[in-house]
């Protein structure tokens, strides 16, 4: 296969020097920096998962002792939540696409955008440093007074790493909000925006209004632990539930930081590969905002058995039911879009369909957990673990991978190999379900989470889960290989290989540094697909 160069000047070949990457203020290059960084963190967090799934093959602690196991799942949680999932779609796809989707030359504050990547990396270095120094064993939740007073592990460095990374998230959200408000192209009214943009707007609100609260909370833990000043310590009259309230004030909405951008990606993919306008555009747009707002009213469902008052538990339980409504609206609308469309099953669409199924399952089991009485039964069991992995992996990661495949030709100018794409999408779907479905059963039977030993009756289901995890791991490595391969050997992509609507497809692949030769003018609604039209779907190779 011959290596072809790009005919046109673009953001990738504009400058080859190393420092042109490190000092770039181009939102597209910063997106690439983020993509490389979070991919590394993903495999660090994944390696920990491999180790503890291996440990859980047998009922006894054969591979690790309890202390090591605690550090492994803490590592996995902290890295995956704060250094992969939170930045994943916003910082990579959002950074790359948002300005292009609204017809702008960059985000409103390009230097702030670069600063946010450096801040993110500083936080990441601190967290990895804490891990190398022996790790922490508090779980990603840092509950007090264990974290602030009792544990002997590296909580301070770990918490400060998360604290620092939080500011990168805040700056990204701030940048998106201002950009969407002030930099839309002429004619691009709010109801002409792609739903991806709406989803990112809602996400940014959460980033901006939630993240500072976890920042101050972790800072207080660090102060208490580092300086010995009492804040949460019950021995001094402090209230550990105060920590949990503040922690979940952010950390429940943080789930929507992970899932809302994914929903935005799914809306784009479903519309494109169903060749159909999105059914109920305004409902999907407003449901994103509704999720962002109502998501702030439900955090107490993590505290049903913590000693929180029963009255508050009932209020939070009710609110949690409410937040299911806008989520369900989205699923119904995607389904309706598929129903009227001419569906074709390219790789991004496979991920999107996987998302819809897995998210639905994750959401429905979320209703179990939001029900006060049932949660008392399954709290802190594998049922919870399975539930949030259906949302965060089955939902957020499927959306991320779908989005990466969908926009890969735009980002790199190359097509990925379709056959391998479909294969690995299938492997991931199967591996995921084999990993996590048994965990619903395990949890319902009463297997507690965060322990490295278990009674022998649970072994079969645990072995199934570990087997699934190894399949899932292979499924993640295949795209890593072929996407890197495609950078050099993939066929050159046209400007719009999928025949998709949206301003980002109207400029070259890869785009020029300033995205558009001249500012585009928008004259029509988003998703201007003619139903049933399929001519472009098989002509995506130049």
């Amino acid at each position: 296969m011959t290596v072809q160069g790009f005919a046109h000047r673009n953001y990738l070949n504009a400058d080859y020097r190393f420092r042109s990457w490190l000092w770039t203020t181009d939102h597209k290059r910063i997106a690439i920096l983020y993509m490389i960084s979070i991919t590394m963190f993903f495999f660090v967090g994944g390696a920990a998962a491999v180790l503890f799934r291996l440990e859980l093959m047998t009922p006894r602690g054969d591979l690790t002792i309890a202390e090591t196991y605690n550090r492994l799942f803490t590592l996995h949680g902290v890295i995956m939540v704060f250094f992969f999932l939170i930045p994943s779609i916003p910082a990579v796809l959002g950074n790359f696409l948002l300005p292009m989707m609204i017809g702008a030359r960059d985000l409103a504050f390009p230097r702030l955008n670069l600063a946010s990547w450096y801040i993110f990396m500083l936080g990441g270095v601190m967290a990895v440093g804490a891990i190398i120094a022996g790790g922490a064993d508090t779980g990603w939740t840092f509950y007090t007074p264990y974290s602030s007073t009792y544990t002997n592990t590296n909580v301070i460095l770990m918490a400060l790493g998360v604290f620092v990374a939080g500011f990168s998230s805040i700056l990204t959200g701030l940048n998106f909000i201002v950009t969407i408000h002030t930099m839309r192209a002429p004619g691009l009214t709010w109801f002409r925006l792609p739903l991806f943009v709406w989803a990112h707007y809602a996400t940014s609100l959460i980033m901006v209004l939630g993240t500072p609260v976890i920042a101050i909370t972790l800072l207080l833990v660090v102060l208490e632990r580092g300086l010995g000043i009492p804040i949460f310590d019950p021995k001094m009259g402090g209230d550990p539930l105060l920590f949990q309230h503040l922690f979940w004030f952010y950390s429940h909405p943080a789930v929507y930081i992970m899932i809302l951008p994914s929903m935005g990606v799914i809306s784009e993919i479903v519309a494109c590969f169903a060749r159909n306008r999105v059914f109920g555009y305004k409902f999907i747009a407003f449901s994103s905002l509704a999720i962002a707002v109502i998501g702030f009213l439900v955090w107490g469902h993590h505290m049903f058995v913590s000693g929180q008052s029963v009255y508050a538990g009932m209020v939070f339980s009710f609110m949690s039911m409410l937040v299911a409504v806008p989520s369900a609206i989205k699923v119904f609308n995607w389904t309706a879009t598929l129903h009227k469309g001419a569906v074709s099953l390219e790789t991004p669409m496979l991920y999107a369909l996987g998302f819809i199924g897995l998210f639905t399952l994750g959401g429905l089991t979320g209703l179990f957990l939001a029900t006060l009485a049932i949660d008392v039964h399954v709290h802190d069991t594998y049922f919870v673990v399975a539930h949030f992995h259906y949302i965060m992996v089955g939902g957020a990661v499927m959306g991320y991978l779908g989005g990466i495949h969908f926009w890969w030709p735009k980002m790199t100018g190359r097509m990925y190999p379709e056959w391998w794409g479909r294969l690995s999408a299938g492997i991931i779907f199967i591996g995921f379900n084999l990993t996590f479905f048994p965990q619903f059963v395990l949890g319902y039977l009463g297997m507690p989470r965060r322990v490295h030993e278990y009674v022998e009756e649970f072994q079969v289901l645990n072995v199934m889960s570990s087997a699934g995890a190894s399949i899932l791991g292979v499924g993640y490595l295949i795209p890593l290989a072929y996407l890197i391969w495609s950078l050099r050997y993939g066929p050159l992509a046209s400007a719009n290989p999928w025949g998709a609507t949206g301003l980002e497809w109207q400029t070259e692949s890869p785009p020029t540094t300033f995205n558009f030769d001249k500012t585009p003018v928008v004259r029509e609604e988003a998703y201007h697909y003619d139903t049933g039209l399929t001519e472009a779907s098989h002509s995506h190779v130049l």
């Binding site: 702008a104 030359r105 960059d106 985000l107 409103a108 504050f109 390009p110 805040i170 959200g173 701030l174 940048n175 909000i177 201002v178 950009t179 408000h181 002030t182 930099m183 901006v208 209004l209 939630g210 993240t211 500072p212 609260v213 920042a215 101050i216 909370t217 207080l220 102060l223 208490e224 300086l227 010995g228 000043i229 009492p230 804040i231 021995k235 001094m236 009259g237 402090g238 209230d239 105060l242 309230h245 503040l246 004030f249 300033f514 500012t519």
Partner: protein, 234 residues
């Protein structure tokens, strides 16, 4: 009342990705307010903790508050309010392109901010000497000699010193975070003073002055709430 001014925009400062100076200013202003919203929630977390503990341990919080010097707190509040005035006047001077007045007001703001921190440092030092800094050395004595008899509630000996310590934890966390914000503000002011002296700002371009002003006033507002909550509990 207010005057609408439309001087020629200084286009040297318009970044490539903005259409014009107007769009750039609107973006900066909105961005600053979004940032201040995050600041509200950042401080809000400790305020929430304060509210819970104050609700639970009212007597202890009153006893702790009595160990703070109301007069120093009042003077400091006045200093900070004055610095907000000079900051506002600095923005006015920038808008009307008066370089001398701009530098003078920025300098005054910086000095008042430094004075505030000086008084704060003096108070911290005193608390250290009175062993009221939480941690191993903390020791709360009911009816301490440091507090005039007239100010002491009769039931102070029933107070649990551990929760008085909680009060001082919050006192230092809140005022410390506030002081940190002041220090950052003073650093930014120093940079602005140098730039203003070189004539970087005018009615056509004063975005950094306006944004720093917003930040400074916000820090002032935090203190406006900290003062009664920490010093004035009776």
């Amino acid at each position: 009342m207010e005057i609408t001014a439309a001087p020629m925009p200084d286009t040297r400062h318009v970044a490539h990705h903005f259409d014009d100076a107007e769009q750039q200013f609107v973006a900066a202003e909105l961005g600053m307010w979004v940032f201040l919203a995050t600041e509200v929630l950042f401080f809000g977390g400790v305020f929430c903790g304060y509210a819970i503990y104050r609700f639970k341990y009212a007597a202890e919080f009153i006893a702790g508050s009595h160990r703070l010097d109301v007069w120093l707190g009042t003077v400091n509040t006045a200093v900070l309010l004055t610095s907000s005035l000079t900051m506002a006047l600095a923005v006015h001077a920038a808008q009307t392109s008066r370089r001398g007045a701009l530098v003078r007001n920025l300098l005054l703001t910086l000095l008042l901010g430094a004075a505030f921190l000086g008084v704060k440092g003096y108070e911290y030092h005193h608390k250290f000497e009175e062993r009221l800094v939480p941690g191993r050395n903390f020791r709360f004595v009911a009816h301490s000699a440091h507090v005039p008899e007239s100010l002491q509630p009769a039931k102070e000996e029933k107070v649990d010193p551990r929760q008085v310590e909680l009060f001082f934890s919050l006192y230092f966390a809140m005022t410390g975070l506030h002081a940190l914000h002041m220090i950052i503000g003073i650093g930014v002011l120093a940079v602005l003073i140098v730039a203003a002296g070189r004539g970087a700002f005018s009615g056509g371009y004063f975005t950094p002055i306006e944004m720093t002003g917003l930040y400074w006033h916000f820090v002032d507002i935090v203190w406006v709430f900290l003062f009664p909550l920490l010093y004035l509990i009776r």
